[in-house]
Symmetry: C2
Subunit: 104 residues, 2 copies
DNA sequence: TAGATGTATGAGCATATAATCATATGATGG
DNA sequence: CCATCATATGATTATATGCTCATACATCTA
């Protein structure tokens, strides 16, 4: 039971990090190799590689070899749905706060 | 732009933790006070209080006073949808791994 | 007003996480 | 075979996180 809770938390934790969010959003447009990803998200190659590896090993991304390159892609469309829902919550929260501040 | 990525990561991070997941699942059935929550999830009062405060300040939970008690409740149904999607991903991943192991 | 009850918070600790630099590994073309 | 390009990984550091114990703070009631 507790194992399941932890497993679910791990999936969400994998998504819940700025650098990894940027990776996921980039891969929304399709498969990319590491050498395309790290300049696109403005992170170090080394750091990007670690995050990609993490996302792959927890099942969020899939990877395949293409000659010398490693191509990463989203494995589950649900991940994008989660992002949308998070954005929806965020929007509602921002509106709520703006109301309080009488800014909007 | 980066601020938005961080804000989205923060919402997800709030959900992506076992103790907080347990709280959220408990509150799926409706409003509860702290003194009901911490025994139900088998955590210390102090620790539970911190997590509740965290979930409230990031907008996942709402709270109100009821006499001496503080009642917490889910603020956005989207949070439950996120949990469902995470479970869906997990299921697919577990099945995939089971296939590999030829267990199922 | 003195307890009792419910909730929050300060301090401390152990562990986890993310980033960086340097280097290793591995595949490819000349 | 060597140089080069693409990716991964070891070591280190700084910071964040989660938990616990003790205590504070409020609110109610006898």
């Amino acid at each position: 039971m507790d194992e399941l809770v932890i497993a679910r938390a791990d999936i969400l934790k994998a998504i819940a990090q700025p650098t990894r969010l940027k990776i996921i959003e980039l891969l929304r447009d399709g498969e990319r190799c590491v050498c395309e990803i790290f300049p696109a998200i403005a992170e170090e190659q080394s750091n990007t590689s670690r995050h990609l590896n993490m996302l792959q090993s927890c099942g969020v991304l899939a990877r395949r070899k293409d000659g010398i390159k490693i191509m990463y892609r989203l494995k589950h469309p649900e991940v994008l749905e989660i992002l949308q829902l998070a954005t929806a919550i965020l929007k509602k929260e921002i509106c709520g706060k703006s109301d309080l501040l009488k800014v909007v």
